[in-house]
């Protein structure tokens, strides 16, 4: 019997969806091991631990301190490593977000245990076994952890959050405040002018490529994204051209995405881009070139002029959603 712990991510005092995903994965692994699933929440006071219990946490540890509202890497790592070390867990699950990609290796280094990063599944077959896409999805490793414990970061959208309600059991843990001054200090989060979903976390992504011809035409992409409630994505070519920020880049030198629905508009489909969208559930392509490689991976395609097609698509989707 061994327990599993998920280190959860909060923003503004609320657990993020990726935290529910990590809990669902932790619950599944704990059941396979015949142990308990625990949660660790590091953040400001007042976070609802019941939310963790809803997604299967048998017990939730809270390090609540308003000075931990933002991600303070050194303190977060110290708190997590202390909790994991004391609890004798077989696995630590962390969402593979900007926060988790920074935190997971720190916990692993403090504990001296292996890190399996950005995995898409976690199971147990004679040890913890994970699936780990590499080369941005051009191949998948199946890996077995040989050590007694491990840190695993879980790719957003790879696991569907499933409710598995437990009665909430909460225990406060020390916030690692006085004993060591933070060596790096997060001062603030600057918000973009236009609140935008992140391309790696969004359930729907509308991505544009060189076919848009210029930066201004991305208005068409933004409008469609608004209509479907999705995030805006971009190909490497348009990011390199300075039309869009790198945060939106999809592909091997950008973000690997797994949305439910991905629109590739005016994107021909370079290898490194296709690798980054391979795990999208449904891909729609709009391109004027019927031989574009994007049509080989798209579930649905329309051949033609995107400047005529996209506005119509936006309009019809708006109408369909209203109706």
């Amino acid at each position: 019997m061994a327990n599993v712990i998920a280190v959860l991510e909060q923003r503004e005092g609320a657990l993020k969806r990726v935290s529910h995903e990590a809990l669902t994965a932790a619950r599944g692994l704990a059941d396979a091991l015949g142990g308990e699933a625990h949660a660790l929440i590091v953040g400001p006071a007042g976070i609802d631990a019941g939310d963790a219990a809803t997604y299967g946490a048998d017990k939730t540890f809270m390090a609540a301190d308003d000075a931990l509202r933002l991600y303070q890497a050194d303190r977060y790592a110290q708190i997590a490593a202390a909790q994991v070390g004391a609890g004798g867990y077989a696995a630590v699950l962390v969402p593979a977000t900007a926060l988790g990609k920074d935190l997971a290796p720190r916990i692993a280094a403090k504990l001296g245990c292996p890190l399996a990063a950005d995995v898409t599944s976690v199971t147990h077959e004679g040890g913890v076994v994970v699936t780990r896409p590499v080369f941005a999805g051009k191949a998948n490793y199946t890996l077995r952890i040989t050590g007694q414990r491990c840190v695993v970061s879980l790719r957003p959208n790879a696991v569907m959050p499933a409710e598995a309600t437990r009665s909430p059991a909460v225990e406060a843990v020390a916030g690692a405040s006085g004993d060591k001054a933070a060596v790096a200090k997060t001062l603030e989060i600057k918000q973009p002018e236009r609140a935008a979903q992140d391309v790696a976390e969004a359930a729907v992504v509308v991505a544009g490529g060189r076919g848009l011809k210029d930066a201004e035409s991305f208005k068409l992409i933004e409008d469609l994204a608004d209509a479907v409630g999705g995030a805006v994505g971009a190909s490497r070519a348009v990011v390199d051209a300075g039309w869009r920020p790198h945060a939106e880049q999809v592909g091997q030198t950008g973000k690997v995405v797994s949305p439910n629905l991905y629109f590739a508009i005016g994107i021909s489909g370079a290898i490194q881009h296709l690798a980054g969208i391979r795990t999208a559930k449904t891909i729609v392509a709009v391109n004027k070139d019927p031989d574009a490689p994007i049509f080989k991976v798209a579930d649905y395609g329309i051949v033609g002029d995107l400047f005529e097609i996209v506005p119509r698509l936006t309009e019809e989707i708006r109408r369909a959603k209203e109706g």
Binding site: L115, V134, A139, Y141, I189, H246, G301
Partner: protein, 250 residues
């Protein structure tokens, strides 16, 4: 200012990846290897900081096979001063043994900054930089797209979901570089010629085995062939219909 930049030799992002006969690694036949793209930003930033300070040294460190000497030479051609190859024919998928070897190499080097790319584009673990920082007890900011160093403190910005985190730290520190940090320079012919004469030390890396074993490496599941719904704007209705009632994603 003395700066170390840790770099990795990786398959080019446009390379087609095939699984080797043993089913546990990639078939490297015909694969072009390059300096990891994110490491280019780290090298460029080190060179800019050295140039800005008017003095200093940029040391490039890599773990990998003999062929990684070529990758180090690329960074030397960009302008780095010296290189160190910690030779290991097989580097496993657990980032901790790699971080341990690097931390041991960097520990007594008197570095003000240690730079990494935010991830290698082959195994994308984002792990080694923050691990090295933990092992050395240094502050670390990962995936940095904007960096200011003045005197002995630094301020870094890193992109997070829906915003930008601003982090302050003291030197020495570990920084991992994201795209957007700078525009990496291309090695000029003169730089390439000079790089051949720059010192490159090669020594064996004592890599621990690590705690991750490969069960198998498999090609991704092929996507089922889709269909062209139609041509031009008149096909939009059929597409919306399919997305609603067939794929059920709208």
């Amino acid at each position: 200012m003395k700066i170390a930049v840790c770099i990795k030799r990786v398959p080019d992002s446009e390379a087609r990846i095939k699984v080797a006969a043993d089913g546990k690694a990639i078939d490297e036949t015909g694969v072009k290897f390059v300096l990891n793209p994110y490491d280019e930003y780290a090298v460029e930033e080190a060179l800019k900081l050295k140039e800005g300070a008017g003095a200093g040294e940029v040391v490039v460190v890599s773990i990998g096979p003999d062929a990684a000497q070529e990758t180090i030479r690329t960074a030397l051609a960009m302008g780095a001063d010296t290189g160190v190859l910690l030779k290991a024919d097989a580097v496993g998928l657990d980032p901790l043994p790699v971080a341990k070897v690097l931390a041991a190499e960097l520990k007594d080097g008197g570095y003000d900054l240690v730079l990494f790319g935010k991830m290698a584009i082959d195994d994308s673990s984002h792990g080694v930089g923050p691990m090295v920082a933990e092992l050395l007890g240094l502050p670390c900011v990962s995936a940095v797209a904007h960096l200011e160093i003045s005197d002995r403190t630094g301020k870094a910005e890193r992109e997070i979901e829906g915003g930008v985190e601003v982090v302050e730290f003291g030197l020495p520190a570990v920084i991992t570089a994201d795209k957007g940090l700078n525009e990496p320079r291309y090695p000029a012919l003169r730089g390439i010629m000079m790089a051949k004469k720059k010192p490159l030390e090669v020594k064996d890396a004592a890599l621990e085995p690590g705690g991750i074993e490969v069960v198998r490496l498999s090609p991704p599941a092929e996507r089922k062939a889709g269909r062209i719904v139609g041509e031009g704007p008149d096909a939009v209705s059929a597409l919306v219909e399919a997305l609603r009632n067939e794929a059920k994603v709208l």
